[in-house]
């Protein structure tokens, strides 16, 4: 079944007074909401709070949601704004010391380990980018949102999004190269 249709059905159940549908909607979108918030805030607890805030705001406004529109675009806009709001309130020192530990299983093949190492480096590099850059990359890659959908979520034109996305990826590549260069230098 179409993913948006599933969301619309859940919303209809919620509006009809079925409370269990709230939980189902949270289950469907919690990971994405949390990931967007976490990428912007770099702090797990704050990201959970921002994601929770976004869900509460969305629940409160469900009656006003236009059911002919795509739920995720509407909801991700709420998540994006909640995370940006939390970012503005965040103290400058918060979030920079937290590292995302990747689990290294004993059974991992050298290829997998190499891949995990690369992903870890990307996550580290992303922490050094601006919230704007991280949001562009996260929205574009994690759920394969179209440029038009990202434009709707962020309130920026699709053409500007395209330029911003290119620049964000370029900055990420540069940061990654710099970071790897530093690691190599530290080895000697």
């Amino acid at each position: 079944m179409n993913e948006n249709l599933k969301d619309i059905q859940l919303i209809e159940r919620i509006l009809a007074g079925e409370t269990s549908a709230y939980r189902a909607l949270v289950q469907r979108h919690k990971d994405f909401a949390f990931t967007v918030a976490y990428r912007i805030l770099n702090h797990r607890e704050e990201a959970e709070e921002a994601a929770q805030d976004a869900f509460l705001q969305a629940f409160g406004a469900l009656k006003e949601f236009n059911q002919t529109a795509k739920f995720t675009t509407w909801f991700y806009r709420i998540v994006f704004n909640a995370a940006l709001g939390a970012k503005r309130r965040q103290k400058p020192t918060e979030g920079i010391t937290e590292t995302n530990a990747l689990a290294y299983a004993v059974t991992d093949t050298p290829q997998n380990l190499h891949k995990k190492e690369r992903i870890k480096n990307i996550q580290q590099a992303m922490k050094q980018l601006s919230a704007d850059d991280v949001t562009m990359i996260t929205l574009f890659y994690l759920r394969e949102q179209s440029l038009e959908e990202i434009a709707e979520i962020t309130g920026i034109s699709a053409e500007t999004i395209k330029v911003k996305l290119h620049r964000a990826r370029k900055r990420l590549a540069d940061t990654l190269r710099k970071q790897l260069g530093e690691e190599v230098n530290n080895l000697y």
């Binding site: 709230y22 289950q27 919690k30 990971d31 994690l142």
Partner: protein, 157 residues
């Protein structure tokens, strides 16, 4: 032939490049090793980003959201009710006054219902009304005034 710039390279990676750009890209891939290495680097980043997984919140997240939502909802219902209490009270008083006026008024009516009410009215003792209803209303009025004042005082820093 002009070397594709970064924006054009990302268009190649996203699959939105024009035929002309693709041809230019192929040409430089074959002729320039530095360009080829740079493209491989960007391409690997692109592939890694595509395969990056979503992060998961804590196990308690779901329950926290539902609990918080239930608490917010009950709080907003209580606030809404509290807002309406003075209006409901005033409306009830108004209705009672109107009914009282129609019963106690001296207007003659042929309506059966009014006659019935007038007959009940004769059985009512005016002293009892003065001794019970007036103090009751006064207590209600004081309770509402107290609530309003307490809210205002609480709001002050």
């Amino acid at each position: 032939m002009q070397k594709p710039n970064d924006d054009e390279l990302f268009e190649v990676l996203d699959g939105t490049a024009t035929e002309e750009l693709r041809q230019r890209h192929q040409y430089w891939l074959k002729t320039d090793t530095a360009y080829c290495e740079y493209f491989i680097e960007l391409s690997q980043l692109h592939n890694d980003l595509e395969t990056m997984h979503l992060e998961s919140p804590s196990m308690a997240f779901e329950n926290n959201v539902i609990r918080q939502w239930a608490s917010d909802k009950s709080r907003s219902t209580r606030t809404m009710l509290a807002k309406w209490v003075p209006f409901i009270f005033i409306s009830m008083m108004l209705i009672l006054t109107l009914v009282g006026v129609s019963i106690l008024g001296e207007t003659q009516s042929t309506n059966l219902w009014t006659e019935q009410l007038q007959s009940w009215d004769q059985t009512l003792n005016p002293t009892l009304i003065q001794q019970v209803l007036l103090p009751f209303n006064a207590v209600l009025f004081l309770l509402i005034a107290e609530r309003i004042l307490r809210k205002r005082l609480n709001r002050q820093p």
